[in-house]
Chain length 260, copies 2
DNA sequence: CAGTGGTCTAGACCACGAA
DNA sequence: TCGTGGTCTAGACCACTGC
């Protein structure tokens, strides 16, 4: 079968399958409900598991499904709107912005970051790297590394790894020092990426999971004083700029006229 | 090789493969160069083609590769920065913003859009749907549908499908009418999606290709006067907010000390 | 322990682009 | 026509979760 009728325009099976499942999700399943397992679904639709999985992958990418190894596949809630320009033109670390400082260490930044900071490439210039996590509505949605060149926080130049407090406390010091600077403005870029191993762990996802990478430049005195690279879970997040955080997106494409 | 030492924590083959290839791309390949075909690469690395493809898929998702059926796999240029807040607080259709009107028709908007516009769901309220394409540096990077309720452009209520000019011309009329309104502000949200068949065609991609969906609400007089849903190619685009458009991201993790 | 999703294989055929 | 990437199959084993 499959060649029973020569499709005039052979639509890929996984594509058709995705559409069928989408419709089913809209009409027959409730959020949180768990679907039959992959082997059974594949059998039910008469396809190989790999093909079924291709459809599920897309649906997960679109935020409609959530799959967890050892557990099963569940219907995902609508994406949460996450404000990215939190009280725009504010330094990170302001109270109650949903971010939690996790750690802080001195490292040589990746080349791309060094470039944004205007640091010479050859010099092994060290910067403070503040790791933070963002939690919204009970789930961690983002992991961030905030790169702060030592030159931006001169008061901390003497802070070596020995005399400084550990982890979160140290992060707080760096953030506190940033607040003293007059922030001129910010700059943002959003692109698709895949989670590095460390980010993935913090986001409770497998390495390689799709993420939205938000790169923010903080300007002080005409120069870039800090750079943030935040990775948001692409499956569960909708990044909002402006008000828009409160909007609730509804999926059901058509009101299926399900009377009574 | 590869099994020379039993990995204490068995790293997936495709993940390791991706890292190897990433390093190779940084050091041994030039932009635009074409890679060996999948069958040969798979053989060279001693894995099944499916596994090799899993690695290539991720690299394409990260914008490092470009694959075209019937042609081959090439090294992708760095992502282009695309300004999303074009002259913020301007109506779409302003001159030289990179958008090209393609078509315009009257349709019933998708439920999600109707909701954003504050239209009753049950009523089959029609709206103008302006289709546009965005071209940057010679390549089309985005496809947009701008939904304009008839109520927002009262002067056009009499415009039926018969007496109106066709396609692009009609789109221009709608956009022109929008310019007359006092735009109060905008609202944006960015999320990951997969290209619908029509968008995919316009973006020169296969259906289901990963896209960044930008939803914009235009406010007039305290209400939403129009909604735009734009899909940007996630593989080739970096969405920028603020200045940031000019920044060039460089990939090579390490300056390979290639003297002379 | 049993059941789930995640990884991997070795094939096959198809749709498309270019020569 | 040929070579490419895209789709699909029918298996297998592994890693994780929960009981």
């Amino acid at each position: 079968m499959g060649t029973t009728q020569q499709d005039t325009v052979p639509e890929p099976k996984y594509w058709h399958l995705k559409n069928v499942l989408t419709r089913a999700l809209d009409t027959e399943f409730a959020v949180g409900e768990i679907l039959p397992n992959e082997r059974e679904l594949a059998a039910r639709f008469g396809v190989a598991r790999a093909t079924l999985r291709q459809a599920l992958e897309q649906l997960e990418l679109e935020g409609r499904l959530q799959r967890r190894r050892g557990v099963g596949t569940t219907v995902a809630p609508p994406r949460v709107g996450v404000a990215v320009d939190h009280a725009a033109h504010d330094w990170p670390g302001a109270a109650g912005d949903g971010w939690q400082s996790v750690d802080c260490e001195s490292t040589v930044p990746p080349a791309a970051v060094a470039q944004l900071l205007g640091l010479a490439e050859d010099a092994g210039a060290e910067v403070f790297a503040v790791r933070r996590t963002r939690v919204t509505q009970g789930q961690s949605v983002a992991a961030e590394t905030l790169y702060v060149p030592a030159a931006s926080v001169p008061a901390l130049t003497a802070m070596s790894s020995v005399d400084a407090p550990s982890g979160p406390a140290r992060a707080h010091i760096v953030l506190g020092e940033l607040q003293r600077l007059a922030l001129e403005g910010e700059d943002r870029a959003v692109e698709l990426g895949s989670a590095r191993a460390d980010d993935a762990k913090e986001l409770d996802r497998l390495p390689g999971a799709p993420v939205l990478v938000v790169t923010t430049r903080y300007f002080v005195d005409g120069a870039t004083a800090a750079v943030s690279m935040a990775t948001y879970r692409a499956d569960t997040c909708r990044l909002t700029f402006g008000d828009a955080g409160d909007v609730q997106i509804s999926h059901p494409a058509e009101p299926v006229g399900q009377l009574s």
